[in-house]
């Protein structure tokens, strides 16, 4: 049950947080789903970072965010999207833009990518629309 508490706290903060722009209902739903995917990794000792990135997924466009990661840590990037998105994928690129080999989880509108960082520095996480039409998504990450 303790493992669920961080997710609960994150969801509570979600309700209270006032971001730079207000999140849409679909983004909030996507974020809840993304947190549930990330929650599954908590059982393996991963801590969910209290932060997120929400936006719109467009056909044939990478939704790309820069993150700064530390060597030695293992990370999982978990994303979820709302209807009419049917299927998404998450991939990671290093600072030169080269794709990083990851473990991956794909389940329709939910997906995750995980890897151990060998070199500290900037990485890019891409959320891609694989099937369906443009719609909202949200990305969270966890680490251990």
């Amino acid at each position: 049950m303790k493992r669920c508490l961080p997710i609960f706290i994150s969801l509570c903060t979600l309700g209270m947080s006032i971001g730079v722009r207000a999140e849409t209902d679909t983004e909030v739903r996507a974020r809840k789903e993304a947190l549930e995917v990330a929650g599954a990794f908590s059982n393996d000792g991963f801590k969910v970072r209290d932060g997120h990135w929400c936006g719109m997924l467009m056909p044939h466009e990478h939704a790309l965010v820069a993150v700064n990661l530390y060597a030695g840590n293992h990370y999982w990037f978990s994303a979820a999207a709302a209807e009419p998105v049917k299927k998404i994928a998450v991939s990671v690129y290093d600072e030169t833009g080269k794709q990083v080999p990851t473990e991956s989880y794909n389940n329709g509108e939910k997906a995750a990518a995980g890897f151990s960082v060998a070199n500290s520095g900037q990485y890019y996480v891409s959320v891609d629309l694989v099937e369906g039409e443009q719609g909202s998504f949200c990305l969270v990450y966890s680490y251990k």
Partner: protein, 271 residues
């Protein structure tokens, strides 16, 4: 119960997750990388992430990284914001040290400084949660609570048109975190730990955020000084990928962040 059931389903799904190494050599062009979103809430790692990486090769003596209590009577808002970030990093250190009294002391100081900035009264409930989790030795939850507290302070700042102070909280936390990590690495050098210090893009991003704050705030002597020092620090943490910094390089980073931290803590503001 429903949440637990969902988690179990996800855990079951984990059994069939394909470990799919990206065998293709996909590459994104530089122009696309430049357009990537960068935001405080996801692009800047928390002190908890930094400390987790530091500890991978072996145990760190976290209680040896404590510092003397800092003043609680700063009058300059930029200085309060920078010190607030530093205190949050101290909170993470106390959690790593599993020191409930220290966590409570720092939690109380965080609330004092946050109130000095006029942030939400709702934070008072965070203070009691921190105390409760500390008394019950719920360390993982405490770490989450500290992150949530910091984010709530930042949200409150944004809603009070104090957006410019948010990056100072983040910066104060990063400087204090880096001070602690460099000290710990120097005490017990290990190449694997030292590799956490390579963060040129992170420092560049924080510098760009500071460049974007109001000219009045940017012109304040403390902010100006710290911003200038950040330029120097960026050079010091720009090691080539894959190469661990030497002890001497770690010492140089430590000296630079030490100088910045001393100035941030000082009651004597630069002129």
């Amino acid at each position: 119960m429903i949440r637990l059931a969902k988690l179990c389903l996800l855990a079951l799904a984990a059994g069939v997750w394909a470990a799919t190494a990206a065998t293709d050599t996909a590459r994104l062009p530089a122009a696309q990388l430049q357009k990537a979103v960068r935001s405080d809430s996801i692009s800047i790692p928390t002190p908890g992430e930094l400390f987790a990486a530091l500890e991978k090769p072996g145990k760190t003596n976290w209680s040896a990284q404590y510092r003397e209590p800092i003043p609680m009577t700063y009058r300059n808002r930029a200085q309060i914001a920078l010190n607030l970030g530093g205190l949050v990093a101290d909170g993470f250190i106390a959690v790593e040290a599993k020191d409930s009294q220290q966590v409570k002391n720092i939690g109380s100081d965080i609330i004092k400084l946050a109130k000095a900035l006029g942030v939400s009264e709702k934070l008072l409930s965070r203070s009691s949660s921190i105390n409760e989790f500390a008394e019950n030795n719920e360390w993982d939850t405490l770490q989450e609570e500290l992150e949530a507290t910091q984010n709530e302070v930042k949200s409150s700042m944004r809603s009070h048109a104090d957006q410019d102070l948010v990056i100072l909280v983040t910066l104060g936390g990063w400087i204090r975190g880096t001070q602690v990590v460099t000290e710990a690495i120097m005490q017990d050098y290990d190449e694997r730990s030292a590799k956490v210090l390579r963060q040129p893009a992170l420092v560049r991003f924080m510098q760009s955020k500071i460049d974007a704050i109001s000219p009045e705030l940017r012109g304040e002597p403390l902010v100006k000084d710290v911003s200038e020092q950040l330029g120097e620090i960026q050079k010091l943490v720009s090691f080539p990928p894959g190469r661990a910094p030497t002890v001497d390089e770690v010492r140089k980073v430590n000296e630079a962040v030490d100088r910045a931290m001393t100035e941030i803590e000082s009651k004597e503001l630069p002129k």
